[in-house]
């Protein structure tokens, strides 16, 4: 049975990629992922804002209270060198590459053109097989028009694309007026893959403390419907590969995504919840299903139920939504 798939110009041994998560901060985990059957790993993200913030914080810490009081003209030794850029991350790429044979995809997270191109170049030099751009931006400025936000996304991609030769994937937000148009613009700007979709971490409210708290909820299988829809709509319409992410927890979920048209599927919450070995279960489940249903290869099923190949393309659009509502019966 042929589980291989093509993603970002690379042939993967199966369509199971581990998406960016804290799990990949440890090289030992990456090794475990490879052993459990992952076809590639996206490293945890390098956060642009964090680097800027840490640099400012360190500067503040070093000068805070200094040169004020005769007995303590400073409070810290002056270290000759601080690694405030992405050095640690780059070293991590290098050690991950050394530890495993599967492709290592680096992830850059940010919201402005900023230091992206520099970081991207350094990531390439550090040996990453590909780069995933995680453009994470929640615009709250009422004066900022949607077009400008979209243009920023495209500009970032173009700048990075021009800076590196390795494949570049864009991990997207679903919150565009016209997702299809955006997909095309990314496609035109040279994205090698679109990763659908980024999950936005929305905060919770703590009733006891009366505080808004960041609270990371792991995805549930329901979350896969949104990427499933858009993978299916975009399949065959963009040159870029499509990777599905969010809510993929089981072999069935993977199969569905492949049929919708995904080149690869990305797993995170499932591994955080059930452990890295979940990969084995999923792969095994895929094989069993394919065997039972007499599929020879993943390629065979890829896109088979995409909008352009399925029997009822309207199911992915509004007319179908109307019908679905009308047919909904209260239990």
């Amino acid at each position: 049975m042929d589980l291989t798939t093509k993603y970002l110009g690379m042939t993967l041994r199966n369509p199971l990629i581990v998406s960016a998560s804290p799990l990949s901060e440890d090289v030992a985990n990456i090794k475990k992922m490879e052993d459990a059957g992952a076809a590639a790993v996206v490293l945890h993200s390098l956060f642009e804002e964090q680097l800027v913030k840490e640099s400012a914080e360190l500067e503040e810490a070093l000068v805070h209270g200094a040169e004020s009081f005769g007995e303590a003209t400073s409070y810290f030794p002056r270290a000759s060198e601080y690694k405030l850029g992405p050095e640690e991350y780059l070293a991590h790429i290098a050690s991950a590459k050394k530890a495993v044979d599967i492709p290592v995809i680096a992830s850059l997270n940010g919201s402005s053109v900023g230091g992206w191109t520099d970081y991207a170049r350094q990531i390439q030099q550090a040996g990453a097989n590909a780069l995933e751009l995680n453009i994470y931006y929640v615009p709250t400025d009422m004066q900022l028009a949607g077009g400008a936000v979209e243009q920023t996304y495209v500009d970032i991609l173009k700048a990075v694309r021009a800076a590196v030769t390795i494949p570049v994937a864009v991990k997207l937000s679903p919150f565009f007026s016209n997702m299809a148009n955006m997909a095309k613009r990314f496609d035109d700007a040279g994205a090698n893959a679109l990763v659908l979709f980024n999950r936005f971490y929305q905060p919770d409210i703590d009733l006891e403390e009366l505080e808004v708290k960041p609270d990371i909820l792991l995805s549930t299988p329901f979350a896969m419907r949104l990427p499933l829809t858009w993978v299916a709509i975009l399949h065959g319409r963009v040159k870029a590969d499509l990777a599905a992410t969010s809510g993929i927890h089981s072999s069935d979920d993977v199969l569905k995504m492949l049929m919708a048209g995904a080149n690869a599927t990305m797993l995170c919450s499932a591994l955080l919840r059930y452990g890295i070995d979940r990969l084995r279960v999923i792969e095994k489940g895929m094989c069993e299903w394919m065997e039972k249903h007499e599929y020879d290869s993943v390629k065979q099923m890829q896109g088979s139920l995409s909008q352009i190949k399925c029997a009822n393309p309207a199911a992915f659009e509004r007319s179908q939504y109307m019908r679905a509502l009308a047919g909904y019966k209260l239990a």
Partner: protein, 1197 residues
């Protein structure tokens, strides 16, 4: 001669530069102003910088200077090239070893930034009292007078010690030289190699202790031989002066700078000569050149080698024409015939004349005087006064100069207007806040000018003694010739005011010369600023034809992402206006310096600074000065109107920056000062203050207990007290059932608050309609200042609640007690002071406090004012600081003394029972004083006793009156930081814990030497970056509590008020009531943790530390063991988070992840294991069933 290379450097770094390269081992311990030397060495070692022979020296931080000296002695004896650095009391602690080192003829150099010894008061500043105390040790003593000489003599002394085998004390003036930044010629490694004879290094090794060819030193000798053996070193001392001169001559060959043991400068036919050593030589040199240019015939003899004292060199250095000498000592030896240099010069000249040396025919008239104690200014005007005195018909001998001695009339008058400043020198003064980066920017400017022009540069920085809102004044000189002006600038041609609040606080234009430039940072534009200036300032601007410029530096800084840091903006203005460098070149150099300074801190920081430079020039405007004075704004009086006259006349003058004008008679001769004086200075530091929302408040008192400066307080009172309340005074019904019917107020001292926000951060009550608001919220201070001043004064006049009625075990009630520690000079957001304040609320009216030197002694007692206060009855803490190392013993002394007096009082009571009556005597002797009511009753009895004794002339009655007060229970508190408790004072602390006596030791544990700038202590946790642990501390924190618990008879508590305030309260109450020694280890967040203490994060950090298991809360009470219970109660729960979550929230740990990420990972993992192991141990101990009878505290003697 090697190619000359110039650098801009301060004295400490210059000395360390040489010492590091010429040695292999450094045994060190931090003490101001020498700490930086050790710090530089440690830093270079951590960076892998090698010495002359290509190896990285070992730098060892010890537990005290005594320990450092012992280590140095050991390293020397086993053959390493070894040196050390210290000052003041630190040098005193090294003296025992110094006798040994010299007695064994061991070559070494001790580099000393000479500092005042503590006598009637401590002082961190410079004079020679420390080095003069070491003059009998057998060390040679070489004095340098400038930064250049400090670097040069560091090498000369190293060469001379190796050849002579006599150890050297190389000293230079603390602060004046140690902290002066100066452009000097670098002593290169090539020069060092030319000075150090490697054969002598080998000879030193060959004398070392070596089991392959064993020897024995350190014998015990008897009367039969000790004397003879002691005299056997004489030949070495006989040769030492010549060897030193030889090294000076060799140095001259290599550098062109020729030094002499006694160096004369002045007229070859001078009749009057001053003799002195240290930085004063430079001012004298300048004065002599100036006076001679005007036709005088005077000279200065600079003493370089004070020990061994060479009379021949002394007399040979003096011109034959000398008729009179004034020998100036920068030290005081009360009771001596004269100070040491004077005595040696008199004896030296007598001997030299008798031996027929030199050109002098007869003994000149020799006078002596003291100058410059504790960095007192020593100016050319004072030098002139000394020369004038020498010329007087009836000159004063044993005079002082620089002060007004109106008690013994020793002082010489001098003309403060006399100036030798050259017109060719740019003299600039900068008034800034510590937090605005002014000093850093000025140091940078000095480097830029020093390294990019032919100009010489000098920078000296006057720092504040207060840590919150610290003010700095920078004195910068630039000129074409080497600058010898070792005194502050009194005639400036450029004055910059970096903070508009100073306009009403300092007379900044007084030193500005006519036609000079004044630069003001202000939010007012060039057209509006004039009317905002005080009258006095307008007058001076017009009269002196001042060129007046303004910039809104805050706006420029904010617009360019620099936040509140205006340093780069103001530095750019200085270069633009001063003309020291062409403007374009200056801007280019500033940018280059920015890249160099901030490059390693990240590109973003660099870009922001560069943007600030670019934006500055467009926002710098000259003000058109009107012809008329229009302002009616007057400089306010430094103290509030209610300050007593006596306080205003002394402390008020000091606070108003006029302390220099106070005469000797203004001071108590024994160093005594009144307490409760911080209340009179209103510093108005806070831009925002907390404002109470009485409707949201739940009256929990958490804000009150955590406030570091006692500026937020609560009172409970009869509603009748509200009569006459100001219109904006807030009040609400008291919520506690015990206070039913009473009113409750939370009041902020707006003018004393530092704006640290700790109170807001800990407030648990949230506004139901707008959750970001709490029961107290920060609002701008300025619009509230006057109304809140009135409210505060009204609040203070509401009577305090009777202490007998306060439930001291419940925080929300206990906090109503009056704090007797208020408005200290501690950092905004300080983590230590809330503990001290709490103890003064609970026990302050009967507290006797001994305080180890450190932060708490500085904010507790740095002049002008003291935060320790008194209650309405005039009672309050009485406080003293002995030393850093002896505080536990000092406090034990209090206890023993008080107990003895009480015991004696009881004996006398019994003897006088016939006069006093059974009831009174029995009541006094058997009084139960375990609570406020009991103490109150005892005080009443004592008052009755005194009344009965009045008029009784018997010896017993007189003696009893003298000790009667001791019958009321005294609470002895021993306060200090972890540097004291874990390191330097540990031996004494341990002994006191073992004494069984009823003392309370409060260790405010910041886990680092905070006061001297963040050096590692044994309390520093694993992985923390600190000075002497630049690569993160590899070992774990010492568990002082566990050690103390091992006695079984010591009450021990580990507390963190920010994490659990009620547990802290319990601990204080229990500790004080325990009739034996009690140790409270109190987590104290600190500016040295790399956290934003000034913005209220401290309590949160304490919570994180406790929740992650990094800091345990517990109480160990031996009384529980006696009652059959487990003495240990663990008050914190099992960890809720990982230690790393806490570590990464503080830059002291986090910065290691940026400098040494792999080490950080390893240390942090180990720290987690430490925390788990600690929890396991403590939870096991707390769960154990008690067995057997617990040890009891030793009965009081």
């Amino acid at each position: 001669m090697s190619t000359k290379k110039y650098i801009t450097i301060d004295g400490n770094e210059a000395v360390a530069y040489v010492a590091y390269r010429c040695n292999e081992v450094m045994g060190i311990y931090p003490i101001t102003p020498s700490s930086n030397m050790g710090e530089w060495c440690d830093q270079w070692a951590s960076e892998g910088v090698k010495n002359l022979w290509g190896t990285i020296p070992s730098v060892v931080e010890m537990q005290s200077e005594g320990g450092a000296a012992g280590t140095v002695h050991g390293a020397l004896q086993t053959g390493a090239l070894t040196c050390t650095f210290t000052a003041a009391q630190g040098l005193l602690l090294k003296i025992p070893n110094m006798f040994k080192i010299a007695g064994e003829l061991t070559p070494t150099v001790f580099h000393i930034s000479a500092r005042t010894l503590a006598t009637h008061a401590l002082s961190i500043f410079g004079d020679h009292s420390d080095v003069m105390s070491a003059r009998s040790t057998g060390f040679a003593m070489l004095s340098s007078a400038s930064v250049q000489e400090a670097m040069d003599f560091a090498l000369i002394s190293q060469a001379a010690t190796l050849e002579s085998r006599v150890p050297f004390l190389h000293y230079f003036d603390g602060f004046r030289t140690s902290h002066e930044a100066s452009k000097i010629e670098l002593v290169t490694e090539e020069i060092m190699r030319g000075m150090i004879d490697e054969d002598l290094v080998v000879a030193h090794r060959q004398r070392a202790m070596n089991p392959d060819k064993p020897v024995l030193r350190g014998t015990a000798q008897n009367p039969d031989v000790f004397f003879q053996a002691r005299e056997s070193c004489n030949p070495f001392y006989d040769k030492c002066a010549a060897i030193t001169q030889k090294a000076m001559d060799q140095f001259a060959k290599l550098t062109g700078r020729q030094y002499h043991l006694f160096q004369y400068v002045g007229a070859p036919d001078a009749e009057r000569v001053v003799v002195l050593m240290g930085s004063g030589c430079e001012a004298a040199h300048e004065a002599v050149e100036f006076l001679n240019a005007q036709g005088a015939k005077v000279g200065v003899l600079k003493v370089r080698l004070f020990r061994p004292f060479c009379p021949k060199s002394l007399i040979e250095a003096l011109p034959a024409t000398v008729k009179s000498l004034a020998v100036l000592d920068r030290t005081k030896e009360p009771g001596a015939l004269g100070e040491p240099l004077y005595l040696d010069v008199v004896a030296g000249l007598t001997e030299a004349l008798a031996s027929g040396y030199g050109k002098l025919k007869a003994m000149p008239k020799i006078l002596c005087g003291r100058y410059g104690l504790s960095s007192k200014e020593f100016t050319p005007a004072m030098v002139k006064a000394v020369f004038d005195n020498l010329a007087a018909a009836k000159p004063k001998n044993h005079f002082t100069v620089g002060i007004n001695d109106d008690v013994t009339n020793s002082s010489l008058p001098f003309d403060p207007e006399f100036s030798t400043e050259s017109d060719k020198v740019v003299r600039a003064l900068f008034y800034g806040l510590g937090s605005d980066g002014t000093v850093g920017a000025n140091k940078n400017s000095i480097k830029i000018i020093g390294e990019n022009t032919d100009n010489y540069a000098q920078g000296y920085f006057v720092y504040d003694s207060k840590k919150a809102g610290a003010v700095t004044v920078s004195h910068l000189r630039f000129g074409p010739s080497p600058i010898r002006s070792t005194y502050l600038i009194s005639k400036a041609n450029f004055v910059a005011c970096h903070q508009p609040v100073f306009l009403e606080r300092y007379d900044m234009l007084a030193p500005l010369v006519a036609g000079g430039t004044f630069l003001l940072n202000t939010a007012n534009n060039k057209d509006e600023v004039w009317k905002k200036l005080p009258r006095n300032m307008q007058e001076q601007i017009i009269k002196k034809k001042v060129k007046f410029y303004v910039i809104d530096a805050i706006s420029v800084a904010r617009a360019t992402g620099m936040g509140g840091r205006i340093n780069t903006v103001m530095q750019t203005c200085f270069f633009a206006l001063s003309g020291v460098l062409p403007r374009e070149k200056a801007i280019e150099q500033i940018k280059y310096a920015i890249k160099k300074t901030y490059g390693k801190k990240g590109e973003d920081v660099v870009q922001k600074n560069i943007a600030a430079v670019d934006q500055t020039l467009a926002n710098l405007f000259e003000v058109t000065v009107p012809a008329q004075v229009t302002s009616t704004i007057e400089m306010p009086s430094p103290f509030t109107a209610n300050a007593p006259e006596s306080v205003r006349k002394t402390l008020g003058v000091i606070y108003g920056n006029m302390g220099e004008t106070l005469p000797v008679s203004a001071f108590a001769p024994d160093g005594t000062f009144p307490t409760a004086t911080a209340q009179y200075e209103k510093r108005n530091l806070a831009l925002e203050i907390p404002v109470w929302d009485e409707k949201t408040c739940i009256q929990c008192a958490k804000c009150v207990v955590i406030c570091p400066h006692a500026t937020i307080r609560m009172k409970v009172y009869d509603p009748k007290c509200l009569e006459g309340a100001p219109a904006t005074f807030k009040s609400t019904d008291a919520r506690a059932p015990e206070w039913k019917g009473m009113k409750w107020t939370l009041q902020v001292a707006a003018e004393d608050c530092t704006g640290c926000e700790l109170c807001v951060d800990v407030c648990p009550a949230k506004n139901k309609a707008e959750a970001k608001l709490r029961a107290i919220n920060m609002k701008p201070q300025a619009p509230l200042r006057l109304t809140e001043r009135e409210n505060w004064n009204f609040f203070l006049n509401i009577p305090e609640l009777d202490r007998r009625k306060v439930k001291v075990t419940q925080l929300r009630q206990q906090q109503v007690m009056q704090p007797l520690f208020e408005f200290s000079g501690a950092c905004a957001g300080c983590g230590e002071t809330p503990y001290i304040k709490l103890l003064t609320q609970l026990f302050g009216d009967r507290a006797v406090i001994g305080n180890a030197t450190g932060c708490s002694s500085i904010y507790g007692a740095n002049l002008p004012t003291t935060p320790y206060a008194v209650n309405a009855q005039g009672r309050g803490p009485t406080w003293n600081n002995s030393l850093f190392e002896d505080n536990a013993e000092f406090g034990l002394g209090f206890r023993v003394s008080i107990d003895k007096q009480k015991e004696f009082a009881c004996e006398l009571l019994k003897r006088l029972v016939g006069v006093l009556g059974d009831d009174l005597v029995g009541g006094l002797i058997n009084a139960n004083q375990t609570d406020e009511a009991g103490i109150y009753a005892q005080r009443e009895r004592i008052a009755a006793l005194k009344q009965k004794l009045a008029g009784n002339t018997s010896s017993e009655a007189k003696m009893l009156l003298g000790v009667a007060d001791s019958l009321a229970r005294r609470s002895v508190w021993i306060l200090g930081g972890d540097g004291w408790a874990y390191d330097i004072g540990y031996g004494g602390l341990d002994h006191v814990l073992a004494s069984g006596r009823d003392v309370n030791l409060l260790v405010m544990d910041t886990e680092v030497y905070s006061n001297t700038g963040g050096q590692m202590s044994k309390s520093t946790p694993r992985g923390a970056v600190a000075k002497f642990a630049a690569g993160g501390k590899p070992l774990g924190k010492k568990d002082l509590g566990l050690i103390a618990m091992a006695y079984g008879s010591v009450y021990v508590a580990s507390v963190a008020m920010g994490a659990k305030d009620d547990q802290t309260l319990k601990a204080f109450n229990e500790a004080e009531s325990y009739p034996g020694p009690s140790l409270i280890i109190a987590y104290s967040h600190c500016i040295a943790h790399g956290i934003d203490v000034e913005h209220g994060v401290g309590a949160k950090q304490q919570k994180l530390a406790v929740e992650s298991g990094q800091w345990l809360l517990y109480r160990y009470d031996p009384r529980r063991a006696a009652a059959g219970e487990n003495p240990l109660q663990l008050d914190s729960a099992a960890a809720k988070s990982k230690v790393q979550d806490y570590l990464l929230s503080e830059n002291r740990f986090k910065m290691l992840t940026k400098s040494k990420p792999e080490d950080a990972k390893r240390f942090f993992e180990q720290a987690q294991k430490d925390a788990e192991a600690r929890w396991q141990l403590y939870s096991y101990m707390a769960a154990r069933k008690p067995a057997g009878e617990a040890p009891k505290p030793a009965p009081a003697a």
